[in-house]
Symmetry: C2
Subunit: 118 residues, 2 copies
């Protein structure tokens, strides 16, 4: 196991309250390259949206993954959901990339951070 | 990539509202077996706690991972935080297992589920 993920793997979120979109998904066993292309494009685009505070993501060797994106408001989440480039990616998700997913919208009320360097 | 994670990889949560504990962590590059032993023990114990509704977890090849545990109330989260067997595991986490972690407590307000079988 390499020593660490990229330094920006953690989202540098402000003090709560803010919102979290918890996306849990099981990938299908196909279209690996196309999936990574679209996923990277959407991650980059999401971070540019007004009110997007960051995102954290991990997928294991079984293709099971969690992505949590943080937003300043429910309105910002809706704007991203309805974004003209995000909509076709959501369709691809259902038609091609995923077997199953769960999407939960939550209001972050408390947050704690710990680092060995502190 | 194998076709799927275990069928219980998704938490079978009730209708919102309920709470999510979003734990994002970077593992250190050591104590692999001991870590997996303690992590499995804590996952099993957490699911037995009153008010624990389930959990979802993924860690990538860089040792970066997300675990989201779901609870019925803030009180149930506090009871698990203060549990006599969970406390020493939290200390091990800081002393031995993790480089950095972020812990966020959030109230789940909406949830959507999608499956290719639906």
């Amino acid at each position: 196991m390499p020593k660490a993920a990229p330094p920006d793997a953690f989202a540098n979120t402000p003090e709560p309250p803010y919102y979290a979109v918890i996306f849990t998904s099981q990938r299908r066993d196909a279209d690996e390259d196309f999936y990574h292309e679209i996923a990277a494009k959407m991650a980059e685009l999401a971070l540019k949206q007004p009110g997007c505070l960051g995102a954290e993501s991990a997928r294991d060797a079984n293709g099971f993954g969690l992505t949590v994106s943080y937003f300043s408001s429910l309105e910002a989440i809706k704007l991203w959901r309805d974004h003209a480039e995000h909509q076709p990616a959501q369709n691809l998700g259902r038609e091609t990339f995923y077997r199953h997913y769960e999407l939960r919208i939550a209001r972050v009320e408390r947050a704690y951070s710990w680092s060995e360097l502190d």
